[in-house]
Each structure stands twice: as structure tokens, then as C-alpha cells.
């Protein structure tokens, strides 16, 4: 479905990606992880056609992105960014339905979809008339997810969707996201910097470093069969809260 083929991308003189190839599995969740500036967000922006590669090709359904009508392409992909990217001048309802109304959907159809999505992402219906500034961070992300899913796209792209949330809300949303991904069977590509989240949500984890893929596999592959000292270092840099507790006392 999505194919990134030997893509190189520069921002000015800064090389964000270097000859990267990746084929996210259809209807599965692929998680991109790595340190800041490793090029993971660039991958999402290439897929949805916000930027074009300097070398190599990105394809969707075997057609290069530039050959697609950009609007058709984007209507088939949902995109959620860290702060939700909600438009502050529109209510939650209007944020979610903006595109559908613009495309001329009938009111009844919009309402039906809105209700279904509200149930899916666990957003209380009385929040729909609030403006983004009146919603909590978690609620904003739920609305952002509803907006991305409104047209029932084939692909869902999420760029650190939970990055700005506090841990309890984050855990809640992680669980909800996993349910949604599993029930909808969408091709999901998600960026995070949290290894636990990657392991919890991802069918496949892609660890990136300096614009290249360092290792791809399951969480177990990365932990048990680290391909390089960097992978090992990256995994051990993620501190578990439990390791700070002296467990030897009880033994």
C-alpha cells in the first residue's frame, strides 16, 4: 500500500533522510522511533505529500505520490500531530466535520458519522460544542483523531499524538488507540519517542538514527537481538521506574 523507496531528503543543507526504504505492512501498525532529528516525522510528511523527496520515490497503491491528485490522496489519509492541530476558531464538532461539509456531505450522514466516531474515541457528546481552548489535552487529541478518521481513510498517520499528555491520560489513550487500531484494521504509521508506547501499540518497530533505519522488528527483536551498540544504548536509555527501587532487600 505505502512504499518508501530509497528516499533522500534535505532541509537546506541538513540531510533528514538518506536512502531510506520502508514498506509499512497494510492494516498493521508500524511505529517509527528514534532520537530527535532522526527523520521519523519527515517520513510521515513524505507519505501525505506535504514535502517531496530529493531522491527516490514514495508510492501509495503503487502510484508515485506526485502522480496523485493531492486532495484525493489526503482524503484517503488521516493525519494527527502532537498538539492535535485543532483550529482554535472552530468548535470540536466543526473541526471534525469541516472537510465533510466542504465536500458536500449531507447533514444526516455527517451526524451519524460524528456519533459513531464519538463512541469510538470515547469523547462525551456534550464536549462537541466546546472550542479547543475549552478542552483538556487528552480530549483535544481525541477530537484530532475523530477529525483524522472522519472520511474513513485507509491510512492513519500520527506524529507523536500523545507526546504532550501527562502519564495517566496517556496510558488511557494508549489503550484506546490500541483498540481503535485493532478494530479498524487501518494501515497506521505512528511516530513516538517512547519505547514502551512503541512496544504497546506497534506490530513493527522501526528504530531510526541520523536519517537511516538502524533496525526493524518487534520490540522483542530490538531488546533481545539488538543489531548494533546504538540499538542497545537506545533501549537502555529508556529508564523503567522499577529499576530505581532496590529489590534486593526482600530476597
Amino acid at each position: 500500500m505505502i512504499e518508501i523507496d530509497c528516499v533522500t531528503k534535505f532541509y537546506g543543507s541538513l540531510r533528514a533522510l538518506h536512502e531510506v526504504s520502508l514498506k509499512p505492512a497494510p492494516e498493521r501498525t508500524t511505529v517509527l522511533i528514534g532520537p530527535s532529528g532522526c527523520g521519523k516525522s519527515t517520513m510521515l510528511r513524505l507519505i501525505i505529500g506535504l514535502i517531496v523527496p530529493d531522491a527516490g520515490t514514495v508510492r501509495f497503491e503503487d502510484r508515485p505520490i506526485p502522480a496523485w491528485n493531492p486532495y484525493t490522496l489526503r482524503h484517503r489519509m488521516g493525519y494527527v500531530i502532537q498538539d492535535g492541530g485543532l483550529f482554535p476558531h472552530l468548535t470540536a464538532r466543526d473541526n471534525v466535520t469541516l472537510l465533510a461539509r466542504h465536500l458536500g456531505w449531507e447533514a444526516a450522514r455527517i451526524e451519524e458519522r460524528l456519533t459513531a466516531l464519538g463512541k469510538l474515541v470515547h469523547l462525551p457528546s456534550d464536549r462537541l460544542d466546546d472550542f479547543p481552548a475549552q478542552l483538556s489535552g487528552g480530549q483535544q487529541q481525541r477530537v484530532g483523531l475523530m477529525r483524522a478518521l472522519m472520511l474513513d481513510p485507509d491510512v492513519l498517520l500520527l506524529d507523536e499524538p500523545l507526546g504532550a499528555l501527562d502519564p495517566m491520560i496517556r496510558a488511557d489513550l494508549q489503550a484506546d488507540l490500541r483498540d481503535i487500531f485493532r478494530s479498524l484494521h487501518k494501515t497506521v504509521v505512528m511516530v513516538t519517542h517512547d519505547l514502551g508506547e512503541a512496544g504497546f501499540l506497534g506490530d513493527e518497530i522501526i528504530l531510526m538514527r541520523g536519517g537511516q533505519i538502524e533496525q526493524a522488528g518487534t520490540l522483542e527483536d530490538l531488546v533481545v537481538r539488538a543489531a548494533s551498540p546504538f540499538v542497545e544504548a537506545f533501549i537502555h536509555a529508556q529508564r523503567s521506574p522499577l529499576e530505581s527501587i532496590d529489590t534486593s532487600v526482600g530476597e
Binding site: F87, T91, R147
Partner: protein, 499 residues
């Protein structure tokens, strides 16, 4: 709104700008009292002769009146032979007896002199002149420390300050241009020692001034005449005949008295003109004029002022908003647009108004265009800033959503920039409300008209009659725009996070 309808709407709104004033017979006058009284006389005899005559009063200085006469925007105005020889026709080297022939080559005719000679003079306060033993202009040579304040017109006319200085060898260095009517106050306050006088000025007696003797006969005669367009003899023959009957009818004393009634007794010029016509000529039915009330003047000026501010602002919004959008979308073009509107904004408002006269004549249209040009920068700049300051994450979200650029602009970008854009329009409106008072200088009317007349007549009440409503209008506009934020700025943008 689709682009074609937008352009049609735009043209419809600009149409009033292009419509030139209707062709009625009109009299013009310069912005000083004697000229206004004479123009009132011309107006009254024209009406008496059965014509519909408009008096476009206090249009400005000689150049503006002369050009308006040549272009046919006015048909008649009072002028002085000295001004014709020394200023208007100064490059033509005309002899006094060939004046009528030279004027005819411009399609202009003049009546015989009206009787009085209003030549220039240099005046000082009687007491100060006496103390310094100054009787003649030559005596000024002994006092290089004296400060002169001459009317702006006098500063650069053929027989004005430069040639007066050269003729008499005057040593004074502190010489500044000042409005003639303000000059009297400067003289009384002691901030200047001498000014240029008209010999029929009412103030000479009122302020106890001494008109210095022109011992080298520098100043030519300034006989008052009416200038009129040659074609007027066909269009309004009875009026031309009536104007000609005024020749020789006004003595120096009569003119000084009329000036004094206007400036010191504050009698309206049209009443003075009617009284003179009624007493100087035998007539069956006296000419009567009605006094305008403060309220009717206020209504009239409000209408004119709102027209100036409203139309210019509307046109500015329709043009500046798209310009601001273009400026935000295309960086290089944007810099050019912001540069040009910025340069226009730095032109002094008075200069901009005067630049418009050769292009659009006098009256409403040039004032509208000048105000329009002034209004552009705040709106363009705020539109540009408002769009430019939208967070890149929101722009990217809108793009990734699959909205077309037009839909993004309408549904996302303009609403997000609305507060800034509205602020720009508010700035333009408030500035316009004040700047429009200058429109009176080129015959556009509005609240500037009573201010102009008030300065001329030294009448603070009249000045306030224009200044107070202009200031109030600015405040009201400010308030209206702040209220309109409730409707025009989306509610979501007015909610602080955490509410």
C-alpha cells in the same frame, strides 16, 4: 464570493470615486474672507439672474482656483490684477494693459476692476514700529534681528518675499511661512515682528497695526476683478452682465468695512454680500439670504464627512485585503506591496491631497482617493501580519486535511487572522476620520470646513464645530470596531485557554 462577482462588486464600489461633480454653474473662492465675500456677491447676482449657482468656498490658494477655472470645475472666481501679473502669468511677461488679451488666449475673460485696490503691504504693531522708528520698508534694513512671518503664498510669489528682500536689500534671516490668519495672532503674541498685509484687511485697524510705506514702489496694484470662463457668456449671459455691473462699485472703504463685519462682528459672508448689493444698487426686490443654523451645518458636514470616510475606507478594505493576502502568500511581491503602501503612507497628507488636484480636480474625488491611499497601509500590513503569524502546525494541519488553498484561506486562515485584520481596518478608520478634515482644503467639505472657516475668521466656536465632531467620530468608530469584534472575530479565538 467567487472572483468575478468580487470584481464587479469592487467596481461598483469604486464608481462614486470616478463620478466627477455634476455640471452646475459654480463660483469658487480662495481661503480668505474678502475673496469669500466677493464670491458670495457673484453667487447672489447669479441666482438673482435666475441661474442655479453653487459657491464652492475656500478652495485654497491661487493655483488651485486658477486651475479649477481652466478645467471648468468652477466658472467664476474673484482675482486680483497684481496676482495675475505677478503669479499666474508671471512667465508670460504680460504688460498690465495687455492682460485681457493674454487671458483670452486661455479661454478666460475678466471684468473691469471692482473699485478697490487690495495691494500687499508689510505690517507691524503700531507701538513696536514707533519704538523702533520704522515708517517705511526701507527702515527695516536697520533691524536685522526682526522676525518675519509671511503667508505661504507671499513666500514664493513674483512680488513676494524674495524680490522684496532683493529690492530693499533686507537683512532679516528669521523668516517663516505661516497661514495669513494665524500670522495676526503671532504678531499680537510677539512671536513675529512683521507680516504681509492686504491693504483692505480689517485687522489693520482692529489690531492697531502700521502698514509700512512702500517707498520703493515694490508692490504692484491689486485691483479686484472677476475672472470667468469665456463660454459663460453663452451659457449664462444675464449673469455675466450682472457681474459686469459690479465693476467700480466697491470702494476701498466699503471693502474694509465688509471685511471687518465678517472678521470682527462675525456676520456671515452671504449676509454681508446681500446687504452690500441691496444698498449699493437700486433694486425692486431686496436679496435675502437665510442664516444656516449650527444644527443644519452639523448635519451637512456630517454627511460630507461620513461620505469621505466611508467610501474611502470601503474601497481600501476591498483593495487592501487582497493585497495583504498576496503579500502574505508571495514573499517577494509582498515586500514590493508593503514597500509601496508604506511609501504612500509617509507622504504628508496635505501634500497627497494637493498631488491629487492635477489628476482629479477639486472636491470629493481627489479627497476620496487620497484618503483611500492612506488607508491601504494599516490594512495591508495587518492582513499580512495576521496571516503570517498563524502557527505553521495549523497551516500544515489544514493542508494535510486535504483542503484546497481557497478553502484554507476562507475557512482557516482569514478567520484566524481576523482580529489582526480588523485592527488594521480600525486604525485606518480612525486615522481617516481625522485626516478627512484636511479634505476641506481642496473643496471636499466635511468637518474640516468649519475648522477652515474658523481659522480664517479667528472664531474658536467654529473651529470646535468641526474639531469636536471629528474627534467624536474617531472615538465612535473605535468603539464600533471594538464592538464588532464580537461578531467578526470567531468566538473560539476570544476564549482564553483554561476557560
Amino acid at each position: 464570493m467567487n472572483p468575478r462577482r468580487y470584481i464587479a462588486f469592487l467596481l461598483a464600489c469604486l464608481f462614486p470615486l470616478m463620478a466627477v461633480a455634476q455640471r452646475a454653474i459654480s463660483v469658487g473662492s480662495k481661503s480668505f474672507t474678502e475673496n469669500v465675500i466677493l464670491a458670495e456677491m457673484a453667487t447672489l447676482v447669479g441666482r438673482e439672474a435666475g441661474y442655479e449657482v453653487i459657491h464652492r468656498d475656500q478652495l485654497g490658494g491661487t493655483r488651485i482656483l486658477w486651475n479649477a477655472l481652466l478645467s471648468g470645475e468652477i466658472d467664476v472666481y474673484p482675482e486680483y490684477t497684481g496676482t495675475l501679473l505677478q503669479e499666474i502669468l508671471v512667465g508670460h511677461r504680460v504688460r498690465a494693459d495687455a492682460l485681457a488679451d493674454t487671458l483670452a488666449s486661455f479661454g478666460i475673460k475678466m471684468t473691469a476692476p471692482l473699485g478697490f485696490n487690495n495691494t500687499y503691504a508689510v505690517g507691524m504693531r503700531e507701538a513696536r514700529a514707533e519704538a523702533l522708528h520704522i515708517r517705511t520698508i526701507s527702515d527695516l534694513r536697520q533691524h536685522p534681528e526682526l522676525k518675519f512671518g509671511f503667508s505661504n503664498e507671499f513666500m514664493d510669489r513674483g512680488d513676494g518675499w524674495p524680490s522684496l528682500r532683493d529690492d530693499y536689500g533686507l537683512p532679516q534671516r528669521d523668516v517663516r511661512g505661516i497661514d495669513h490668519d494665524l500670522g495676526y495672532r503671532g504678531l499680537v503674541a510677539g512671536s513675529i515682528d512683521a507680516l504681509d498685509l492686504y491693504s483692505t484687511d480689517a485687522e489693520i485697524a482692529y489690531y492697531h497695526l502700521r502698514a509700512l510705506i512702500d517707498d520703493r514702489h515694490h508692490f504692484p496694484d491689486y485691483h479686484a476683478v472677476f475672472l470667468y470662463r469665456a463660454d459663460l457668456a453663452d451659457r449664462a449671459p444675464a449673469w455675466v452682465a450682472a457681474l459686469r455691473r459690479l465693476s467700480g462699485a466697491i470702494s476701498n472703504e466699503a471693502m474694509v468695512r465688509m471685511n471687518a463685519r465678517a472678521k470682527i462682528e462675525k456676520v456671515p459672508e452671504n449676509e454681508i454680500a446681500a446687504d452690500f448689493l441691496n444698498t449699493a444698487f437700486d433694486r425692486d426686490v431686496n436679496i435675502t439670504v437665510s442664516r444656516t443654523t449650527r444644527l443644519s451645518r452639523f448635519r451637512h458636514h456630517t454627511r460630507e464627512h461620513l461620505y469621505l470616510v466611508g467610501i474611502s475606507l470601503l474601497a481600501a478594505v476591498l483593495i487592501a485585503l487582497p493585497l495583504g493576502i498576496v503579500a502574505a502568500k508571495f514573499r517577494r511581491t509582498g515586500q514590493i506591496i508593503l514597500g509601496i503602501t508604506g511609501v504612500i503612507y509617509t507622504i504628508p497628507s496635505l501634500a497627497l491631497l494637493v498631488f491629487m488636484i492635477p489628476l482629479l480636480g477639486i472636491g470629493g474625488p481627489p479627497a476620496l482617493v487620497a484618503l483611500f491611499l492612506y488607508s491601504l497601509l494599516p490594512i495591508v500590513r495587518n492582513t499580512h501580519t495576521g496571516l503570517h503569524d498563524i502557527s505553521p502546525a495549523l497551516i500544515e494541519s489544514a493542508e494535510a486535511l486535504g483542503l484546497t488553498p481557497w478553502a484554507r484561506l476562507i475557512h482557516i486562515e482569514l478567520p484566524l487572522a481576523s482580529r489582526s485584520i480588523l485592527g488594521g481596518i480600525k486604525t485606518s478608520a480612525v486615522i481617516n476620520a481625522g485626516t478627512a478634515t484636511l479634505g476641506a482644503l481642496i473643496g471636499a467639505g466635511g468637518y474640516g470646513q468649519p475648522i477652515l472657516t474658523g481659522i480664517r475668521l479667528d472664531d474658536v466656536g467654529l473651529i470646535l464645530e468641526g474639531a469636536v465632531p471629528a474627534a467624536l467620530l474617531a472615538l465612535v468608530l473605535q468603539l464600533l470596531f471594538e464592538l464588532s469584534e464580537r461578531w467578526l472575530v470567531p468566538r473560539g479565538l476570544r476564549i482564553a485557554p483554561g476557560d
